[in-house]
Amino acid sequence: MRTNKILVALFTLLICSSLAFAGTVSGKVTYTGTPAHQKPIDMGKEPSCAKQHATPIMTETVVTGDNNALDNVVVYVSSGAPDEGQVPTQAITYTQKGCQYIPHVLAMHVNQEFDIINDDQTSHNIHPLPKVNIEWNKSQPPGTPPIKEKYDKPEFIEVKCNIHPWMHGYFAVLKTSHYDVSKDGGDFKLPNLPPGKYTITAWHEKYGTQTADVTITGNETKDVNFTFKATPY
């Protein structure tokens, strides 16, 4: 009995301590140089989508903000992540609205189920182009139920709609749930990291990857910033 109590106490202590010593890696993604010029998209061939945008939306290959901020960069723990193999159960969605993918980059855990939704009055075909995972291509007319899918290998997968060639996005299939996609001025945050050594990787669809090593020792916030070299072409 006494041993049991001690064990329970120790276990509680362990949980509390691990919660207490949860570090955060946060920072900003920026660029140097001249980023690729983004062009307005002509949706004239799809009036039901064109009328959803008061002004034409821009291509999203390189999305920048003030002070050289770079958005849509997937920042994730590529080595040392404590949660590899723990597939989250919460649903994530990839929405087609106004002939645009929302979000432009959808990050997910390997084997995590995600819903693809068509919020438009037109048919889309969802055609991800994986090299490692298995390729499929499905039609989704308006008003049809969400398509449920998952990928079983880590990979950055380009997503296309062949009917609307300007529609372009990415799935980032990762071995961890410790990820964030830089937004609102290049900010990202990876919370709840127990003490340990980590490799943080930042991936951008045009400018490639960068890595940084970081050590979390306790309840702290480590600043890690990534700077990509932007090229116009």
Partner: protein, 341 residues
């Protein structure tokens, strides 16, 4: 003197062309003409050979990458009815008849591949166009067997009916050695195709409504001529330009990439053509609706004799607008006369 009037006219033209006739050729001129032609030609030939040798020499100077490793023939098998194909038995035929396009390593990099459009299948990724199974799954052995025997129309894949059934089964087994998917996954389950209902002008009309609703016309065009608004932008999964199928081309012998029967059309749009922009509609078309769409698609083959075109002719070539006999409750309840099942 001695030159015919036409030649004289040419010879005196401003652009200075001299037209030589046999009469005007004096021996010295003849020799100098030959020399003038021969010297540059020889020079070009010598230069070409020299360049060739230099290229060859520099190729030899490149760091050695070594010979490519031999193809490991895994003990893959295929089952077609009561025939069992063995990869080892398909090796000779593959290397003799298939490797020229599909490549020794099945990676679609055969020596002819650069000249081909569309490109040969890449067996290393095991993505196949003609399947009876759902999109993203492996085809059945029969699917591959049928593709070899049928060939792929509008492509350079010939009809290989010169092979015996056993040889074709062996080839099906052989192409499985190129992708690890064949060891890890089972082939998909063929979709269930219900019996075909009779062709009526109503089924054609409903098919036309589906063609519009599912936006098939965005690529295939309103008359199925492959000229829809998105047609010019289409690329396959390897970024090579690709055209949507033109239903109107061809006569009685017109075929689809994956067959020529009504069942084949049903399979093509329900399972999709993997590796191309043609998606799968299995999740969005009900089986009987699918047959109506098949009936309409046949009428787009305007030069092909078919029972669908006969029914259409009997209706004076006019497809009536589709009237939903079982509209949803909130919708307009005007029923077509004689409707209901």
């Amino acid at each position: 003197m001695g030159m015919n009037p036409l030649a004289t006219r040419f010879a005196s033209a401003d652009f200075g062309l001299r037209v030589l006739t046999m009469n005007s050729l004096k021996p010295m001129r003849f020799i100098s003409a030959i020399l003038f032609t021969a010297i540059p030609c020889t020079a070009i030939l010598v230069l070409t050979f020299a360049a060739g040798f230099t290229a060859r020499a520099s190729a030899q100077d490149e760091p050695l990458v070594g010979p490519k490793p031999p193809v490991v023939v895994k003990p893959m098998v295929s089952h077609i009815g009561n025939i069992t194909g063995h990869a080892a038995d398909g090796k000779y035929d593959y290397r003799r008849y298939c490797a020229g396009c599909h490549g020794d390593y099945g990676d679609s990099n055969g020596e002819n591949a650069v000249w081909l459009d569309p490109k040969p299948r890449d067996f290393t990724i095991a993505t196949f166009k003609c399947r009876s199974t759902l999109t993203g799954t492996l085809p059945t052995d029969e699917d591959l067997f049928n593709t070899i025997g049928r060939g792929v129309t509008n492509s350079n894949m010939p009809i290989w009916n010169t092979f015996t059934k056993q040889e074709r089964a062996d080839l099906v087994a052989y192409i499985k050695i190129f992708s690890p998917r064949w060891e890890k996954e089972k082939a998909g389950t063929p979709i269930t195709i219900p019996a075909e209902p009779p062709v009526t002008i109503e089924s054609i009309s409903h098919g036309q409504a589906l063609f519009a609703k599912l936006e098939c016309w965005k690529c295939h065009g309103t008359h199925g001529e492959g000229d829809g608004p998105s047609a010019s932008t289409l690329t396959d999964s390897k970024d090579n330009p690709i055209r949507p199928y033109n239903f109107a081309l061809g006569g009685n012998d017109s075929r689809f990439k994956c067959g020529s029967t009504n069942q084949d059309i049903y399979k093509i749009f329900m399972t999709g053509v993997d590796g191309t922009p043609m998606p799968s509609f299995a999740d969005v078309i009900q089986p009987n609706d699918a047959w109506d769409l098949v009936h309409f698609l046949r009428t787009l083959q305007v030069h092909r004799h078919s029972k669908e075109n006969e029914v259409l002719m009997a209706a004076h070539g006019v497809i009536p607008p589709y009237v939903d006999k079982n509209p949803p409750p909130a919708a307009d309840t005007n029923k077509a006369p004689g409707g209901g099942q």
